[in-house]
Symmetry: C2
Subunit: 194 residues, 2 copies
Amino acid sequence: MDHEERRSQIAEAVVRIAASRGLEAASMREVAAEAGVSLRLVQYYFHTKEELLRGVLAHLGRLIAQRVARAVAALGEPVTPRTFLYGALPALIPTDDESRRIVLAYQAHYTLTLTRPELAPDGLTYANALRDLVARHIREAQEAGQASGDEDPGVAAAIVLALVTGLQSSVLAGQYDGPEAVALLTAHLDRLFT
Amino acid sequence: MDHEERRSQIAEAVVRIAASRGLEAASMREVAAEAGVSLRLVQYYFHTKEELLRGVLAHLGRLIAQRVARAVAALGEPVTPRTFLYGALPALIPTDDESRRIVLAYQAHYTLTLTRPELAPDGLTYANALRDLVARHIREAQEAGQASGDEDPGVAAAIVLALVTGLQSSVLAGQYDGPEAVALLTAHLDRLFT
DNA sequence: GTTTTCATGGTACACATGTATCAAGAACGG
DNA sequence: CCGTTCTTGATACATGTGTACCATGAAAAC
C-alpha cells in the first residue's frame, strides 16, 4: 500500500482523538483502533511515538496551509494585499467542525512542544515566515495608500497574528463562535485599512 | 499542618513540573517527589487526580490575579482607565522566570480543559468578567476623551485580550521575548488611546 | 484514660503504556 | 521455483499509572 496515504490515515486518526478526547488519550493502541489498523502497523509506519507526533504535526501543518491556500484561491484574481489578508487570516479561525478539529489538535501539539522542543523540528521557522509575509503585504498596502502608513508593518503583522492565535484559543474554549471571532478579526483589520 | 498551605505547596510542585517537563509528566508520584512529600500525602490533600488538577488550576488563577493586582497597585494613585490598562495587561505577559512558569502551566491546563471540561468548573466566567472589566475601562477612557470614540468598547476589549493570549503563546514559544511582547501590546494600546 | 479523629507512611493491585520479538503471508525479481 | 523484501499480525515484557488498603503516632474530646 501507499506509504504516504497510510501515514496520513494514521495521522488523521490522531487528530480525531486529540480533538475529541485530548492528545494524552492518543496512545499507540488507541490510534491503531481509531485508524482501523493493528498496533504493529502504527509502529511500522511511525517507528516510535515521537516520530508519530512529529508526523502528525507535519500533517497538521499541511492541512492548515491547504485551507489557507484554498481560501485565498476562492477570492479570485487579482489578489491584492488587502484581499489576501482579509481572505487568509480568517481562514485560520475555526468555524466548521473540521477546522475546529484541526486547530484543536494543533494547539494540543503546540502546547506539547513547549516542553518537548524535539517534537517541533522547524520550531519558529513557519511562524516567522508567516509574519514576514503578512508584514510584506501590509507594507504594500501602505505604499498603495490603502492603509495608514504611520505604523511599522512588522509590528502590525506581529500584532494581527498574535490576535489570530488568541482568537483561535477563544473559539476553542467557546468564548466566541467562529463568526464572532472572524468579526473581531476583521474589525481589527478595518482599523488597519482606513 | 495548615491545610491550605500544604495544598499550595503541592500545587506549586505541579506548576514546576508542568513548566519544565510538561503537564503529562505530573503523575501523582512525580508530584509527591517534587513537593518533597509522600505519595499518600498527595492523595490525602487531593483525593483524586482530577481534584488535584482542579486545585492547581485554581491556584494558578490566584497567582495570576495576584500578579495583576500587584502590578496595578505599583502604579500608585490615581488609577485611571488608561493607567489600569497599561499596567494590568502587560502583567499578563511572561517576563521573568516565575511568570513564565505560571503562564506555561496555565496554558497546559487550559489546553487540557478543552477536551476535559469537567476540570474547569468556572469555564468562561473569569474570561468574560475580565473582558467586561476591560470594556468598561475603555468606555470610560472614551468618555473622558482619552480614547477615540468610534469603536465599540466590547469589541476593543475582546481584541486586546485575545492579543494578550496570543502574545503569551508567542513568548512561551520563544518567538518574542518578554519586553518585545510588551512593546507589541503597548503599541496596540497606543492606537487605542490616540 | 480511653476513644476518636487527624495526619502521615508504606505498599499492593489492576491496568495502560511504549516497545521489542516472533511469525506468517504477499509481491516480485532471479 | 525460490528466495528476498515488504506488510501485517499476535503477543510478551518491563515499567509507570491512579487508586485502595492497612498501619501508626499524635492530638484532642469526652
